[in-house]
Symmetry: C3
Subunit: 182 residues, 3 copies
């Protein structure tokens, strides 16, 4: 088999709930031909049943070649530790990470700066999955509005330095920046 | 008059509320030059006034050439019955259909499988309208989250086998798959 | 310095919350090389702290070359008064304007007609910013549904006559109509 080498450093896959963003991001990682590492932003012992079920489905879909790493907050450290020339990382997802940070009352600006700094020097490709959450009606409660604003800002920050930004809907990709692999 | 023949089998028109998706889908159907059939997924005796008003507006917009068929649940059967080489069907819309199925506690996976099977062998073009509902903040209530997930999965299923998938915003179409007719 | 002349008459920049739509619209205005006028659709004495903060950030970002005009309701009049061959207007934003109109119980259809009429004869370029709000789950309350419908209709009306319609996500532009300036 000939290895397809997809040359990216940072890619952002952005989409709505159930838009196929994780599946598309997995494909991007697999197309690098490198060893795939799944960086989950939630702990496995999560007591949210809905979330636990989703994770199991995602794990079943990814093959045995994938290695899984978990990091709910210190994402920059995890990427710095895991990125390597023979590996491709999939960070799934920034929305959960943002939620963890806000819940832990950490400083999102500081954490975002750390993340962007690490991405700019990562030794191998990193594909990040994130939700677009700003296209509905303004939420009633202030916390949801704050989350929505923080998510939009985070997406902009990551998109600024990414080489490839993809919007997914109904499982289909649309390039917002860069070229989709054919 | 020269008939414009738009050769499609299955097309999905996806968009938000008031994004112009039905109008665009009607145009796709009319551009086939075939006899247009409107497959409404809600009963005419719907007691929701808001909905009834919308239906009246839609009917007034479509010309007298259109024939209307109603089928809230057994959509696969309606398509199998109505599709023909000299007809083009417009299914408006999958979101209402999904809502009917969930409300009737029918199995959405079974119904989706039936629908996809019928679409793959339909004897004429079928244009389906659906809502993208996953781009806002996570809904508070579990039922809304379940609906959102089911809608996203359904859109992915239909998009997988459709030849043309169009996203509409502000009345304008964007091709997610295939080529927009010029 | 050579002036870049971007020849547009009406442009609509559409996006979600924190999608970078205002920043992109500012860039469009600045690329005309004309004198930039910011038409704010909210009064400066707005007692909403969240909103006041946003305005301050926006003002700081725009340079001293910008002149600011405020008009919460009579937008058509403001555009008729301000548009000129040596000026480019930025209307920020139609969502707030719509909200002002609905709150004041003015007739949105009449106001939209006025706006479109003025845009079609404006003596200089006008860039309008608006929110896409229809891509989440159907809102629980009727007022939010009404707003969502009105916003979608308004966006369609403006998009119909605009030469350039841009959708923004994660700070990145996607042309829905016309060509993005390079």
């Amino acid at each position: 088999m000939v290895r397809k080498i997809l040359m990216i450093t940072t890619a952002l896959v952005l989409g709505g709930a159930r838009s196929g963003k994780s599946t598309y991001a997995e494909r991007l990682v697999e197309e690098t031909g490198l060893n795939p590492v799944y960086v989950a932003t939630c702990p496995p012992a999560d007591d949210d049943a809905e979330m636990g079920e989703r994770i199991a489905v995602h794990q079943a879909r990814r093959g045995p070649a994938w290695r899984t790493v978990e990091e709910p907050i210190a994402l920059a450290d995890a990427i710095a530790r895991e990125a390597a020339p023979d590996r491709a990382l999939l960070v799934d997802c920034l929305t959960l990470w943002l939620s963890n940070i806000l819940f832990a009352e950490e400083d999102i600006a500081v954490r975002t700066r750390e993340l962007c700094a690490v991405l700019s020097v990562a030794k191998g490709p990193v594909v990040l999955v994130s939700n677009e959450v700003g296209l509905g009606i303004v939420p009633d409660n202030a916390l949801a509005r704050r989350f929505r604003d923080a998510q939009g800002r985070l997406n902009q920050e990551i998109a600024r330095s990414a080489e490839l930004v993809v919007f997914t809907a109904a499982g289909l990709p649309l390039a917002l920046k860069g070229q989709l692999p054919s």
